[in-house]
């Protein structure tokens, strides 16, 4: 291990097997009748991580979070937080605080009373509570709003109050349920970076539930992708994006063009996939554990594809097509290209110059190409 991590994202505690996880989840299931909301999940989360549970609705991510704070009882399995088995610990005794999706601010209390609620339950003296509340109000930049009621605040302000309230007791673990869901885009981005800064400064372990993959990518030290109550992949945002382990993950995180193919060559340093769907034999510049003749998926991100009017000078992975649609998005343009095989793909290219003398337009014949390490081979 390095001496001291500059930011939690520089250290990778999950890579060191001698590290004790802060949260240890073993064989956790939660069944509602026949429905398996969470299905035998094993997961380790380490101190100082900003961990994202990512999944669509009904993937079980919220149920898993609610089991961490004790609002749901697992059907089976064990959750340990900081070495302590949580099975018989009621929510009000757990070293955990949660920021609710609806914020759940007490409508009859002022902002200051909301923030100080947890401290008052601990029996902290009034003067001390006031000091701590002032400190938190300053931190979330609401110093002059302590005497307001929640319904006198904007959505962004309420969200800050909820965050301050969840941090008031200096929890070892902070759970956030869709923390940015109700905010507009600009405020979301600001808040994302604020959350990261806070997490860095306070050294609290964050577990964030979100359905927004962009949010997860920006925030997280690691992402767990959930589907149907199971963990599909647990990795860093970069790995989840660049090395998805399944078609589901590749599709869920960012856009992807998928081609079905059959393994025709399987060497140590490269492999070949014959894909009638793409209309060529795809060359992959690394070995993949597979057998010859096996059917596999080839996933290719839109930004890893190049379009050109002239045939590029490369031996593999060039195919022809016709541009169906161009959408100018400012920083980049999105192209829909019909390959000659009939398959439609999505390509994004950065707009490098302000004015392009020779742009690619509708109905243009183009050469579509990509590098031999641009795509990812996925099991069917």
């Amino acid at each position: 291990m390095t001496d001291k991590a500059i930011s939690p994202f520089d250290s990778q505690p999950w890579k060191d097997p001698s590290n004790e996880p802060f949260i240890r989840i073993r064989g956790i299931s939660r069944h509602y009748g026949a429905v398996k909301a969470v299905d035998s999940v094993d997961l380790d989360i380490y101190k100082g991580e900003l961990f994202c549970l990512l999944g669509g609705s009904g993937s079980g991510k919220t149920t898993l979070l609610r089991m961490l704070c004790g609002f749901e009882t697992p059907t089976s399995g064990v959750i340990e937080i900081d070495g302590q088995d949580m099975s018989d610990v009621p929510p009000y005794k757990r070293p955990v605080n949660m920021m609710f999706q609806s914020y759940a601010l007490f409508p009859h209390m002022t902002v200051a009373k909301n923030i100080g609620y947890g401290l008052a339950r601990e029996g902290m003296p009034k003067a001390q509570i006031n000091d701590r509340v002032d400190e938190l109000l300053t931190m979330v930049q609401l110093s002059n709003l302590g005497s307001r009621k929640p319904n006198q605040l904007s959505g962004g302000q309420r969200q800050r109050v909820a965050l301050a309230r969840a941090l008031a007791k200096k929890p070892k673990l902070l759970l956030l349920d869709e923390p940015l869901g109700a905010l507009d885009k600009k405020l979301r981005e600001e808040t994302q970076f604020e959350l990261m800064k806070l997490q860095d400064e306070l050294g609290v372990t964050f577990v964030v539930v979100t359905h927004d993959q962009e949010e997860a990518m920006t925030l997280a030290s690691r992402v767990a992708v959930m589907d149907g109550g199971k963990l599909v992949q647990v990795a860093t945002p970069r790995d989840v994006y660049e090395y998805p382990n399944s078609r589901f993950v590749a599709d869920f995180i960012g856009g992807v063009n998928l081609f079905e193919g059959r393994v025709t060559a399987d060497e140590e340093n490269h492999m070949k996939l014959d894909s009638p769907e793409a209309g060529l034999e795809i060359h992959v510049g690394h070995g993949v554990s597979c057998s010859s003749g096996q059917r596999m998926w080839y996933g290719l991100r839109p930004e890893k594809i190049r379009l050109a009017k002239e045939r590029p000078d490369q031996p593999h992975n060039v195919v022809e097509g016709t541009v169906e649609e161009v959408a100018y998005m400012g920083s980049l343009s999105v192209y829909r290209v019909n390959l000659d095989s009939g398959k439609q793909i999505k390509v994004t290219m950065p707009n490098l110059d302000r004015a392009n003398d020779n742009p690619i337009l509708w109905d243009q014949r183009v050469f579509v190409s990509w590098g031999s390490s641009a795509g990812v081979v996925l099991p069917l």
Partner: protein, 303 residues
């Protein structure tokens, strides 16, 4: 824009019509009768039919004279029967309201926290008594509470008592009857305010370290104040003027203003004094309600 041209400008809009219906209803069935009662209270009793003198009269010379008689109100102060009846009504209404609240709160909470299917069943059970006549149900209580009634017979049979309990014709019987009758009026508004509370608030309280009891008193209870206020008003106001229950279950000592009112009208045939009693009762009840309403409005403006 289109609504303000031509003839439609002179017709009331839909909004006005909707508001007009309850306003007309109150005008016809509350305000006008009250004006009649108030007018009566200012006239003089007489042995006549109707038993009072008109307050407005044309005399022989064609002069219109008004004879406003406020002595009925002074009379209410002179005879302490009225004051003690008011006070006792207030006391009975207050204690009954408190008892209703005490019984209704846990019931409402249990109904609000039950599963939706059970909740509907429990609500049905609360409302079910309304399907039989109120009078019948009060008579049923006579059957239960009287000296050789159901309650005493069962207790004697069980050997818990060897003398019948004297409950009938006491204040206790009145309390039983009143609390039984008015309990649904407390439960329903309380239930409504409890059931719409966001469950996440209690989770937030627990998450911040509040044990269930602390969470109840710091979150659920204060948030149910509006429901409690509504329930208390719905019980307190009609109980103050209650006539049937004290007449049937109460004894001669149970002096409530409703009974006094009734005997002034029908036994003494002193309509003006009876009207004065009714007017004072209304004022006594309306003033605190208005104050409460003002306080609520101030609260809303602040919020």
């Amino acid at each position: 824009m289109s609504g303000s041209t031509g003839i439609s400008r002179f017709l009331p809009s839909g909004k006005t019509l909707v508001i007009a219906i309850p306003v007309i209803w109150l005008l016809v069935f509350f305000l006008i009768p009250f004006a009649v009662v108030f007018k009566l209270s200012l006239s003089e009793a007489a042995i006549a039919r109707p038993p009072y003198l008109p307050i407005m009269e044309w005399d022989e010379e064609g002069i219109l004279t008004f004879a406003l008689n406020i002595s009925n109100y002074f009379y209410l102060l002179e005879d302490d029967l009225y004051l003690s009846a008011y006070l006792q009504s207030m006391r009975i209404a207050f204690i009954s309201t408190a008892l209703c609240l005490l019984i209704a709160y846990p019931m409402s909470l249990a109904i609000a926290r039950a599963t939706p299917a059970k909740r509907n069943l429990l609500l049905m059970l609360v409302i079910l008594p309304f399907w039989t006549s109120f009078l019948l149900r009060v008579y049923a209580w006579i059957g239960i509470l009287k000296t050789n009634g159901l309650l005493n017979n069962s207790l004697m049979w069980l050997g818990l008592i060897d003398q019948p309990l004297a409950i009938m014709q006491t204040d206790i019987a009145v309390y039983i009857g009143v609390v039984y009758t008015y309990l649904p009026f407390m439960i329903l508004p309380l239930y409504t305010s409890l059931v719409k509370q966001d469950g996440a608030l209690l989770e937030a309280a627990a998450d911040l370290g509040a044990r269930p009891v602390a969470a109840f008193f710091s979150v659920t209870f204060p948030l149910s104040f509006p429901g409690m206020a509504a329930g208390c008003l719905l019980v307190f106001i009609p109980v103050v003027g209650e006539f049937v229950i004290p007449a049937l279950l109460g004894g001669p000592d149970t002096l409530m203003i409703g009974k006094v009112l009734w005997s002034e009208f029908f036994s003494n045939r002193d309509w003006p004094v009876a009207s004065a009693v009714a007017t004072v009762m209304l004022v006594v009840l309306v003033v605190p309600i208005m104050l409460l309403r003002l306080a609520q409005q101030a609260d809303e403006v602040q919020a």
